[in-house]
Symmetry: C2
Subunit: 431 residues, 2 copies
């Protein structure tokens, strides 16, 4: 068993293998799904699996799996069709416990969001082997595709396809900014739902960097993902000349937009919720023209669905009143809403206890774990983020906390691969 | 002399020849300089000149001229080099009085801003001929290039080149969105300043649609163009995750931007000035990301330069205070400022009296007349705009008011081409 110091050094060395891949001059990462950078990370994944004698499979949706089978380091039982990506995962899949995360990033994102969960999983496997541990059930490391949705616009695309949360034909038609569609980058139409594969796993545990300074211990366990949604708001005014139009004659949609931005921030603060306007489009977006129309997007999240609905209602009410004063019209349209994800409570409690009573906390961010939690007992481990920054270059975690995360994940995988679990309906906690 | 009714009908017929050219489905115009639409309008200009036996010349900067010489309908004296565009205007130019405007539009602009001044000029020539009037000095109709700056980003590009207000090498390097530069569309490097040509004219009179409901009579005379400027403001914050970042941990530049938009509006209203934020750029402009940076542009105009400076100072002070509270940084940079243009007061008074005591009023909009006014006695006639809308499809003027504009311009051209004027330093009023 390596010391904490040795484990932190090992983490640092492995982490350094990835740190140059897809890095922009600002220190942020451009690791869009199937970009050269993300493909290099997939190649790294294959090399890691091969070096450990793990079996490489994929699900036909762009998600990769590396499995450590209980029988030893052999191939997947039941065979499977070989493809350029490795073996298509055979019917029934490897079973056992699934861990992992994703490689792709938001534009100019941080280093940790995604890759930390995959790197930690391989290092946890190493820790278990160093201990002479032999799993009774398979341990599989996953690299999910397009979790951020930065290329094709839909977050958790890989896990949604795998679980049937999106129709593969709809997914195949999604296009990136260059007009390429998912089928082009996959080399084939996505395979879609693999219920045999998903149901074969007993649990999914995703380790992830914490994203908002809510975690003050090195490691924590997730309780839930806040419900969240995106609302587009369209403000229609009257395009006009910036120089000549009397202030009293204006119907300026930028004013209503600006008021809505400030109102959303204020309402969220008063309610202990989160609201952000991070995207705007202006027509015609010219310096010397009062805009004809401004379109904004409100991202809102709250502790429960009723609180979220009340937040958005309050923002829309204030914005509509302001539009009346500005002579503009505003319309809110829900583009996507996701209900609360409450992770398996029994599993979360069990893991928190197993790890010595670490904190249990919710998060405002979506994850593949949120998608998979509808299908199998799912948990998340968080590693402390001292800056609280995420999706940006300043996202961080210390080597020591990352080592603590590896050790915690190893402990969890050991626990969950040691004994058969009861059927999924009753959950892991009953085992 | 045609009746008012006949003149309005004639105007409507000629106007209809242009109304389909470069019109977008929203009713707005896409008549960017040297676009197929604007080239079609230049062809129309040549046809109008030819039909009236006027002499076509150009200045090598993209500006076209059609001259009615006092000697009759003959060619330009002194000859000139023939080019694809017609004759390069000979040294000294035609002299006499210059009128006209521009064909190019802002994106989705109105029909009247620009073309009204050119159409009215040709119809004014027709009116004078119908009266049997023979000018003692030349009357020249101009079509200036790229007045709006919508293609190469610099307003009044043609008149600036002609008068030497911009270096032709700098102008030649300006590129449009497709990467084409001015030399590409001109077919040669711009000729630059033509002092001989400019100094040869005794006066410039531009007829233009009024742009802000300030004119309640059919026709008015301009006193001045308000000083105006464009200030870019850069707000730097910290990019972060919209879902997970605590509201208290945010350094959101969109909040500072929004506050600045509202502050600019309020300060302008309180001061009887104009302020507009019509353009914004957000990095990364993603729905689920607190922006790292937001850049806005403030267009501000006021009755005098001190009032303008105080307005911008007040906005910057409030915005900077707010940035302190938001944890962001804001910086204002003047991108362009234009001092007040006060048109020749004697000429304005003389024309207002000549036209029966029409109103004299300032405008917030820039014009080629503003550029030329630094070099020769210059005046503007405005035609009433009932909607007050400009740079947008709802820009309007009635046929009757346009006919009144033609009649007023004819009266002015008759007056200014009848007798030689005194030298420019003393101004037309002394004549």
């Amino acid at each position: 068993m390596p010391s904490d110091l040795d484990l932190a050094r090992t983490f640092r060395e492995v982490w350094a293998e990835l740190s140059g891949i897809g890095r922009a001059p600002d220190g942020g990462y451009l690791r869009f799904a199937w970009s050269p950078a993300e493909i290099a990370l997939r190649d790294w994944f294959r090399a890691q699996a091969t070096a450990r004698g793990m079996t490489l499979t994929h699900d036909g949706n762009g998600n990769l799996f590396a499995t450590w089978f209980p029988a030893g380091d052999g191939l997947a039982p039941g065979g499977g069709r070989a493809t350029a990506d490795g073996l298509l995962a055979p019917s029934g899949g490897p079973g056992g416990v699934l861990t992992g995360s994703h490689f792709d990033s938001v534009p100019h994102g941080g280093a940790f969001d995604g890759p930390l969960g995959i790197v930690s999983a391989f290092l946890a496997v190493d820790l278990l082997r160093d201990l002479g541990f032999r799993p009774e059930r398979a341990i599989t490391v996953a690299a999910f595709a397009e979790e951020e949705g930065s290329r094709f616009g839909l977050a958790c695309l890989g896990s949604r396809l795998l679980t049937g949360a999106i129709d593969p034909q709809r997914a195949a038609a999604l296009t990136d900014r260059d007009g390429l569609c998912l089928g082009d980058v996959l080399g084939a139409a996505p395979a879609g739902v693999r219920p045999d594969l998903v149901a074969g796993f007993d649990a999914y545990v995703e380790l992830h960097v914490e994203q908002g300074r809510a975690l003050t211990a090195p490691v924590g366990v997730a309780s839930a993902i806040w419900p969240h949604g995106r609302w587009r708001f369209d403000v229609e005014g009257e395009g006009n000349h910036a120089g000549t139009t009397l202030m009293s004659d204006r119907r300026d949609p930028m004013l209503t937009y600006a008021f809505t931005v400030l109102a959303a921030n204020k309402e969220a603060r008063l309610r202990g919720a989160h609201a952000t306007v991070g995207r705007v489009e202006v027509r015609p977006n010219a310096t010397n023209a009062i805009p004809a129309a401004v379109r904004g997007w409100l991202d809102a999240r709250a502790a429960d669905e009723e609180a979220l609905a009340r937040l958005v209602e309050a923002v829309a009410k204030k914005a509509t009143e302001r539009a009346g004063r500005d002579g503009t019209a505003i319309r809110f349209t829900a583009e996507s809403t996701t209900g609360e994800v409450r992770f398996d409570t029994g599993l979360a409690d069990r893991l928190a206890t197993l790890l010595g009573g670490v904190p249990i906390l919710p998060t405002g961010a979506g994850h593949d774990a949120g998608v998979l939690s509808a299908h199998l007992p799912t948990a998340m481990l968080f590693v402390r983020n001292p800056t609280g920054v995420s999706h940006a270059p300043a996202e961080s975690a210390t080597d020591e906390d990352c080592a603590a995360g590896v050790r915690a994940l190893a402990r969890v995988l050991q626990e969950l691969s040691r004994r058969p679990l009861v059927d999924h309906d009753e959950g892991v906690a009953g085992a």
